[in-house]
Chain length 190, copies 6
């Protein structure tokens, strides 16, 4: 069996991309040793990739309220619910690295109710899963349940908005049949 | 019964927003006669609103492959599947205006299979609904079915990406309990 | 796109209908200015239409326990759950008229949890939705929850029976592809 | 364990019912040796019972296009999908009697796909189940599939309308917790 | 309509089976007057049938914690949820015999919430149904709810394991299109 | 966060187990370097564990029709559909080893439709998933679709029976909250 291509759609050359995207991609490659396919696949539409990255960074690159590892837990749990290979494999790797725990990503992806996480993290993921799979029923009571664990308005917004952002991201990855880079499978497993 | 607030989260004053957002909002108000609540609710997080608007405009403000009205059909059909009041009411209004048809938005929202649309539009909405509700199963065959109706790679990307973007948008609106402005209910009904 | 026909089945002439149905239909036309398609479509089977109307009137034409507007709320919420274009559009119109509220029908159809209704009405619609979508699980506890809001046996029967009657009605409309009259879209919107 | 009551709601005395209902009930009792509980439970609302019976008879008491046994098959299959004890037990008995087959009702109730029925009856039940459980998706193609087996417009209407009528009936029975008479369990089993 | 065969797969002669299976089957035939088809259908794979029977007997042939009739209730309720004709018909018969109640099997199969059973049995079946249909969500709270009714660890294991074993059994029967013997339909109905 | 226990139920000492189980467990430990928790958790019921292992070996320890790696693919795909942590993690490890492919288990667990497998394996997993999640609808047409890829009766039985056996196994693991051994996470990843 030969591997599938990384996208169902045309994939641009890095060299031909707008300067800001090109330098961001090269910086990631410099740091990680490879270019995550999400950059190449979405670069088919530079304006969309630019907005995607800006949104992603606004939600994921901070540590208040929720740790970076907790943000990745939300990504992995909700992406597994959407059966999104790219997001589970890639963000599973990031989660292992950020949590320095080689088991956590598989646990959260398969069944977050059985993962080795705190009750606070369990409440966080229950809410994220509701936003991901049944957002029409999100009620004031759900927010109140989070406040019991110390989540404030900003943290609740983050949980819900990350689940929402990856609802989009999972669908883009499933639309394009985005392929996870081989490098992600082993990252953070020691 | 008094009306609900426009958001579960704090809503900023327009005057205190960053210049770019403020002037965009004032321009919309100038043109429409009111400020759609999505601007005010998401402005609680200016960086996120900026990315949201950039992404939205990249997908919705063009006419190639899909008309602007067809783009709004996708929004209305998928937002109804997610039971999102803001998106159905607001984009229903925009769809009526862009299609100059007072019935189309209600038809598409309630059951797109019975709407007065062309077979090509029906195929477009079937695909958008699959991306919205069962993206894990999106297959090459689904894309082939669209090509029969003349949709090329760019149009297919647009259909799927609009469904994906509003998967996020619906969840943000349901998270915040975003309230549709009263003005939208009558717009485009003649 | 030309409009679809009003039914998948033969539609009789009003002139040839049994006298009781004909005079009822003419009375409605006199009052409303048009003949709602449900009369014409179901008149293909006069005995069935006669029973349908008798049942409908027994449940909908009274004001005790539930107001007439509240009865229509039940129709709109459950018909939207069944994606029934005729019932949502036609009864949405009647709801707007009876509630003298141009927004209520759209709110209840899209997501009754976010509608501008009282907690008592919310409990009423939650129960109606359970009867409509998961009647096997209706339990004594559900009836007890309604009694807290002052609904007595007669009002509870009405809520459940209206949901049940429109479970039939929605399926008849979806079977026949019953088309809503254009007049309904604007009724009650001011 | 003592038996449950026959209804969650008040049950009237036969003697106090309007004459037409009373004589119909007594005629049934005369013929069957007992009064099926549906008469007693729904008689709490005489006008509704009258319409219910008129509708029922219009759909069930004829033999053209579909045999009476086939009509009962539709009732049993769709009522089982709604987990309605009264309808499955009572109409299962009638089906056994009308088909003079002691196994058919259990087979159709548990899984109509495995029942000892003809391909034509299988097509009939597939359509009835779609009307019962997913009527929003009923399409012209579904009707065309029935015509291949010789079902004409009148027969198709009957299949769909019976499924629709019992969608109501099942919900009324689940609302009232209508109890099947003990007599039904053994009827037609020889 | 001729009857379907008892299996989609080859069915061996009893005479040619390994001695232990052959003598077990003949003993059952001696006692019941017929050979239940499950023996013949699964005997296509003697090693699997041997393990199947050993597992079955370990779970079903005892009376502590749960009566034998209660064990059969679990089988009937969960098998009906999986629409498995063989298991519902055959174990329905055994349940009627063991409970000496001609109505209980039909009641439990159609809707266990409405069956004439004790609150303790209702709790038992609620748990069994969760294991059968949503085992991923089984939580410590569910086990605690059973302990309130006096179920200890061993009884809880039995409830869950019987539901699990018949999850397999239902799928084997649906895979092979295993046909219930005619004799089962009347057993225990008096 | 401390780790959860390996079972919700009592776990026996190996030394106290019946000789046959004890020596099997020690042999596995000898070969693998650890005792997979499934042995310890199910050993709470020796007779059940004995039947479980006999059944397991009859289905999994052979190479005809389906390779051993393909059998493990079925386990991983269906166990992921049931959100069973033990089965996905433990059999994911075995699959990686048997397929000598470090990516295959994650791919199959997350979305078998996007895995790097052959069309024949895709058909195999589609059928296994139907047996696992919707066995009531398994039809002759499904078996015919497998025969196109060269699967004969024996191979089809294996696919279906493995899916059925792990339907049980997943439920036992979710019932007991069976914890995967840490060793499995890294096995076969190179």
């Amino acid at each position: 069996m030969t591997d599938r291509p990384i996208s169902r759609f045309p994939v641009p050359e890095i060299a031909g991309l707008p300067e800001d995207l090109r330098s961001r991609i090269l910086a990631v490659q410099e740091k990680s040793g490879f270019v995550p396919n999400v950059f190449l696949v979405l670069a088919h539409r530079p304006a969309e990739l630019r907005a995607f990255l800006a949104y992603h960074d606004a939600l994921m690159e901070k540590d208040e309220g929720l740790s970076k590892a907790e943000r990745e837990m939300i990504v992995v749990a909700t992406s597994a619910a959407n059966n999104c290979p790219y997001c589970v494999v890639a963000h599973g790797a990031i989660l292992r690295v950020r949590a320095t725990d080689p088991r956590i990503a598989d646990q959260v992806a398969i069944n977050h109710r059985k993962a080795d996480i705190t009750p606070r993290q369990r409440a966080m993921l229950d809410f994220a899963m509701k936003v991901a799979t049944d957002s029409r029923a999100v009620a004031d009571e759900d927010l109140a349940a989070l406040r019991i664990f110390g989540f404030d308005d900003e943290a609740i917004w983050d949980i819900g908005a990350i689940a929402a952002f990856f609802a989009m991201s999972n669908r883009l990855a499933n639309l394009t049949a985005m392929r996870p880079n081989d490098e992600f499978y082993m990252l953070g497993r020691r």
